[in-house]
Amino acid sequence: MIDNSTEIALSLQGISKIYGPSCPACIQKTGPEMGTNICPECGSIVACADISLDLHAGEILGIVGESGSGKSTLVKCLYFDLEPTYGEAYLSYYGNGRLNIFSETSQKKRYIRNHIMGIVYQNPHMGLRMNFSCGGNVAEKLLTADCYHLGKIRHRASELLTKTEVPVARMDDLPRNFSGGMQQRVQIAKAMANNPPILLLDEVTTGLDVSVQAKVLDLIKSLQWELGISMLVVSHDLGVVRLLTNRTAVMKNGRIVEIGLTDQILEDPQHVYTQLLINSLL
């Protein structure tokens, strides 16, 4: 539950995702101290475990960690793409912050996906229908919020694409034919279609040219600045996190090993793994 006076937008409490049969030893025998996310007893993969954190209203919170540390798993659980094995999540914008969104009906979950949260996937193929036009991709999201007037849909789609700097002239083209940076910007336009107060961004800039990265980062900053959207920004690039966030959580082997002010994480890392991560990048 979220206390309404605290300005917390999203609260995660003990989220775990285990692939495999799972046994009583799974949690205890995995994690950064054990150096693995594979349970030695039963072979299950503990993709993430015991993840608790609060996202404050209007805040951009960074999540960093090496490949396989569980970042995408966490984000996909929040967007209901995966069902967490344990854990609860509360949204201040839903049921007054009193309802664990994971135990809601699938109809309610759809409402949350379409109105309260937007997502940009690490892989654009997950977020976009490559054989729909780029305007069609945005329109699809608008339809989920009961916007059926064709003229209005086109108007809003072009507005969003302009905001994310996708040339409106290319609205009827297929995203398959777009560059990686443009695909990510179409994903952002789609994610924002229904003005959600929360965005989940998974490696939005990975694999993009530096100059294109810069444009996407500037766009994200302006979205927070102008619209006050709260965001979880997942990245293994500390430069991205330094630029965008005030607070950062560090993940390793499915666990959060450290969470703190971003400048503190970078300049005075506490956990041995964070020190390794920072040092490897200096």
């Binding site: 002010l261 503190q264 300049e267 005075d268 506490q270 041995v272």
Partner: protein
């Protein structure tokens, strides 16, 4: 005058796990008080922990021991050594400013907008914020040719003045200055001192580290000398 800040037995020790648990002393057993509206200069040889003190107050470093008691307008008495992160962020936004020894410049933002940002964040109209930013840039002798350029390409002294303007424009209650005039020449240093003295007259309390003693004595009411600590450290 009441104290705005009291540092009590502050120590910062770095535990370097990746160097087999090697321990590095940042600063040790630091205590001083700062009456509201006054300013204190921290002095001592290189490596004695001057910057570490400021970074602990700003919470870029997590203090190992001691308290940093700050009397805030927003939250009353707060121990900056242990306050929750959202309180620290709120105070950074509204009450506590910091000019770092090494410059961190935001990419792809014009000098004018870098300086205006703090005001806009606090709700000042964009036009008005830009106007005040121009005043500050003029005052710190940044050529108007540079106002629309990105500070990442500026000279060290220009970047330093951008950093000072950016922190000063919001008139923080408490200003932390880490060698703000280190790479300035006489004329621009005078302009910076003049701006800082004006802030002080308007009520800002200052904790500063100054390379050059002449600058320091124009600005501070008292000093905290780290060399005592240094000789102690040498003995250990």
């Amino acid at each position: 005058m009441n104290d705005i800040l009291a540092v009590e037995n502050l120590s910062k020790i770095f535990m370097m796990h990746i160097l087999n648990g090697k321990v590095i002393r940042g600063c040790e057993d630091i205590s001083f008080t700062l009456p509201e509206g006054e300013s204190i200069g921290i002095l001592g040889p290189s490596g004695t922990g001057k910057s570490s003190i400021l970074k602990c107050i700003y919470r870029t470093y997590i203090p190992t021991e001691g308290r940093i008691v700050y009397h805030s307008l927003q939250f009353g008495t707060v121990d900056l050594a242990s306050a929750p992160e959202n309180i620290i962020l709120a105070l950074r936004n509204t009450e506590i400013g910091y000019v770092s020894q090494f410059l961190k410049i935001m990419p792809r933002v014009s000098a004018l907008d870098v300086v205006a940002e703090g005001l806009i964040k606090r709700g000042t109209e964009k036009q008005e914020a830009r106007y005040r930013a121009r005043e500050h840039l003029t005052r710190l002798q940044i050529s108007p040719d540079l106002w629309d350029a990105y500070p990442s390409t500026f000279s060290g002294g220009e970047q330093q003045r951008i950093n000072i303007a950016r922190a000063a424009i919001v008139k923080p209650r408490l200003m932390l200055l880490d060698e703000p005039t280190a790479s300035l020449d006489g004329r621009t240093r005078e302009a910076v001192i003049d701006l800082l003295l004006e802030l002080k007259r308007e009520g800002t309390s200052i904790i500063g580290i100054f390379h050059d003693l002449d600058t320091m004595f124009q600005l501070v009411d008292k000093t905290y000398d780290m060399s005592v600590f240094d000789s102690y450290k040498a003995e250990v």
